[in-house]
């Protein structure tokens, strides 16, 4: 390709949008091979990397009829992973097509699967779950789908892999598809308007239905995996469309005398900016316009209502901004606002509460016990919390909630916590950002759990809207 045609191609392709997805499954399902196939066929693997992988494949005697490159080697990054032939930790990979730039969180399946799946899924717009066509839906599949339902991943794609090893049998695929949909129905996945579910037959090893539609599965009329990933709406788009503007304040920008010398050199009016004061943060959902009425939520205060008079971004004045933009917001009234406060569309925020009912995905080898003191990080605020009780533990195989008094590594359970200060908590079901929190160990600072806010028992969503 000449430089001119390539440049013209880049011109028409821009701007691409960003899409984050995760893969869940074990090495045995061919997950690393699928990831390698996506990277390889979308030409994200450069020649020197491919050479290194080819050399290692040859050294290990990989090859035979399939042609020699162990695509799984593309994703195992750490020495221990290559030595042991397993994937230990989530790895992030990057590739792009004309339409989109992709961030792929490759989540290992069999070691600490909950920790890795929760981590990868928490930022994902979509998750691809792998099933081995020869084995069908396993307990691990149920666990994965259960975690994805808990985390409200917007798009779940089940890739029925190794379809070549069942002779591209439609019957095998349809049976697995039926089983997947049965599990999804039990979980409520895909039937409550939050998530959608798609089942695709693929062969990661040969590339069938990965990047291009395969002629060997004529009975499948749906899109190839990459086509799906290119066209699904990203969570950011969905979050920007929500009507509930949410803006956790990260810090106050108040330079007083200390204006940026480069901005001053570029002609910034020093007098006009002497008393500049703006609240910096990233919009977590919805959008805001200059002139909008907003509520400022801070602990120890009644919510205060004021008006947005400016939205600044590095010298540009914006009329409007939406999730996930990082901006600085100026308000009409001089209100005492600090990090940890939230600016929100007026009249859309529920009363702050110090009673936290939550689902917890426990990610630490240290178990959770009733009576334990922890830290809760929600938005830009960290508060102390007391674990009042553990109210149950999810059996990921049966989806029943069993009685429990503690939670251990990889458990998903329900708990009630008492916070040292009230927070503007929102149900994770509808607010993926303001409904999420971290549980942190106050002793060593490690992250203990991913927390998802639930409604108070007996509460109805609408009743507690006070402002």
């Amino acid at each position: 390709m000449s430089t001119e045609t390539l440049a013209a191609g880049l011109e028409t392709a821009l701007p691409t949008t960003l899409f984050r997805f995760a893969t869940a499954g074990s090495v045995d399902d061919g997950k690393s091979t699928l990831v390698g196939r996506l990277l390889h066929d979308s030409k994200a693997i450069l020649a020197d990397t491919l050479d290194a992988v080819a050399r290692t494949s040859a050294d290990r005697g990989f090859g035979g009829e399939k042609g020699g490159i162990d695509l799984a080697l593309l994703t195992d990054g750490l020495r221990a992973e290559r030595e042991q032939g397993i994937t230990i930790d989530v790895a992030y990979r990057y590739f792009a097509t004309d339409r989109r730039s992709f961030i792929l969180a490759d989540c290992p399946g069999h070691v600490q699967y909950t920790k890795n799946t929760v981590t990868g899924a928490s930022t994902a717009d979509a998750v691809v779950v792998l099933i081995d066509a020869r084995k069908g839906v396993l307990e691990q599949t149920r666990r994965h789908l259960s975690v994805l339902q808990l985390l409200r991943v917007a798009h779940v794609i089940v890739a029925v892999n190794k379809i070549d090893l069942v002779d591209f049998s439609e019957q095998v695929f349809r049976d697995i598809e039926t089983d997947v949909q049965k599990v999804a129905r039990e979980l409520g996945l895909g039937s409550d308007g939050v998530a959608d579910l798609l089942v695709v037959p693929v062969s990661a090893l040969d590339g069938d239905n990965v990047v291009d539609r395969s002629e060997r599965t004529p009975w499948y009329t749906g899109p190839a995996l990459l086509e799906v990933l290119e066209t699904l709406p990203a969570a950011d788009e969905l979050e920007a469309e929500l009507e509930s503007f949410r803006f956790p304040v990260q810090l106050v920008i108040r330079p007083q005398g200390a204006l940026a010398p480069d901005a001053v050199a570029a002609g910034l009016d020093v007098e006009a900016y002497r008393d500049y004061r703006a609240y910096a943060g990233q919009i977590t959902e919805g959008s805001v316009k200059v002139g909008d009425e907003v509520s400022v939520i801070s602990p120890g205060h009644e919510p205060r209502t004021t008006t947005v008079v400016g939205i600044d971004f590095a010298g540009q004045s914006l009329d409007e901004a939406a999730a996930p933009q990082s901006v600085a917001v100026r308000l009409a009234d001089e209100i005492d606002i600090a990090r940890g406060d939230t600016i929100a569309a007026a009249g859309t925020v529920r009363e702050s509460t110090a009673d936290l009912y939550a689902s917890l995905a426990w990610l630490s080898p240290k178990p959770l016990r009733e009576g334990q003191k922890v830290l809760v990080k929600h938005g830009t605020r960290t508060v102390q919390a007391l674990v009042r009780n553990v109210t149950g533990k999810l059996d990921l195989a049966t989806f029943n909630v069993e009685p429990a008094s503690n939670l251990e590594l990889n458990d998903i359970g329900h708990a009630q916590l008492r916070l040292s200060a009230p927070l503007p908590l929102e149900n994770y079901l509808h607010h993926r950002r303001t409904g999420a929190f971290l549980v942190i160990d106050p002793i060593d600072g490690n992250t203990l759990a991913a927390g998802l806010v639930k409604d108070h028992p007996g509460d109805h969503e609408d009743e507690r809207y006070v402002i």
Binding site: L6, A7, L10, L14, P15, T16, T17, L18, A47, D48, T49, G77, L78, A91, Y92, R93, Y94, A96, R99, R100, I103, K115, T123, H155, R174, E177, T178, Q181, D196, L197, L198, V199, G222, T231, L232, P233, A234, D236, E237, Q250, P255, A260, D262, G281, Q282, D312, F313, A314, G315, P324, Q325, L363, K377, G379, T380, R433, L438, G445, T447, A450
Partner: protein, 319 residues
């Protein structure tokens, strides 16, 4: 809306491509907002952050993002440069002009001083990149920096692909890849105890091409050696090495003048140039998009030492 039909069910999906695309942020805008969010989080939660600044393109982009994050205020932290003593003179000149223009404090950790004091030994291969770790940790400890911003990207190397955005380092600056904190949503946990510090990588999710497209879009100045220029070079290890005070050809290595540019800028003794006629940022964007080699594979001798070269250096406290 587009509709996917399988035999059992019909899944309706609102297709992004059918919607008016002007509404949607470009991938660069999304990455920029993510990076600014991370930079602000670190500044808000840490006592004494610093930004690693080498004059290389990734650190220049980092500094540019920091100016945007705090506009119209000054960047509220110093920059830290670990000087190998094997620098390209034009990069040091660029560094000093940048620091001056933004009114920043510059802290320098010097590899040469450690060698002079006998606390570090020159390597047999003459490469000083791996020697940066000791002066880096020394500068962090002496200045009591509790968070250090780096321009590391996950697409650079397979060990970096596993690194967190906020990455905890122990009292010895070591990275423990098997015991990393899970990083959930956009909630970053920067808690650390005395002696520990955190490395923050706000541009983790950017690729080399993103960096160049952003430099083009934002009209960011870089040291001139990133663009094609005539230079005296000789071939070694399959790379073009510049002739300089610390980088001398052996008798059998012929010196020729070539049109080259640098894809990475590091220690002059181990960073190679690539043949290129990309004289402008637009040319470079096209060249990078079409490149069949990774930037480290093409230009860094130190990463060719072994398959886990980067992982081993990072465990010891490297960037």
């Amino acid at each position: 809306m587009s509709t996917y039909t399988t035999e059992e069910s019909t899944v309706e999906v609102a297709a992004a491509v059918d919607a008016p695309s002007a509404e949607r942020l470009s991938s660069l805008d999304t990455l920029e907002s993510e990076a600014i969010h991370i930079i602000r989080e670190v500044v808000a939660e840490f006592e004494k952050p610093a930004l690693l600044f080498s004059g290389g393109k990734d650190s220049v982009v980092m500094l540019h993002l920091a100016t945007k994050a705090f506009w119209p205020g000054k960047v509220p932290f110093p920059v830290l440069h670990v000087d190998t003593g094997h620098n390209f003179p034009e990069v040091i000149d660029f560094r000093d002009r940048t620091v001056e223009r933004l009114g920043l404090k510059l802290v320098v950790g010097s590899v040469q001083e450690f060698i002079d004091r006998g606390e570090l030994a020159e390597r047999a291969d003459g490469t000083r990149n791996p020697l940066q770790t000791v002066p880096l940790l020394d500068a962090i400890q002496r200045n009591k920096f509790d968070a250090v911003f780096g321009g590391g990207r996950r697409d650079e190397d397979k060990a970096r692909a596993k690194e967190r955005i906020l990455s905890l380092r122990d009292e010895f600056g070591q990275w423990d890849p098997r015991n990393q904190r899970p990083e959930l949503w956009n909630l970053y946990n920067g808690r650390h105890t005395v002696g520990q510090h955190v490395r923050a990588f706000p541009i983790s999710n950017w690729t080399e091409l993103d960096i160049w497209r952003y430099i083009e879009r934002e009209n960011i100045e870089l040291p001139g050696l990133y663009y094609a220029h005539e230079r005296e070079v000789f071939a070694r290890d399959g790379m073009w090495r510049a002739v300089g005070e610390v980088s001398q050809p052996l008798p059998h290595e012929d010196v020729i003048t070539k049109l080259v540019r640098y894809r990475t800028v590091g220690d002059m003794s181990c960073t190679g140039a690539v043949e290129s006629d990309a004289r402008t940022v637009a040319d470079v964007v096209v060249e990078v998009a079409a490149s069949t080699l990774t930037e480290r594979g093409a230009t860094r001798a130190d990463d060719r030492i072994s398959e886990a070269a980067m992982e081993d250096r990072k465990k010891d406290g490297y960037f």
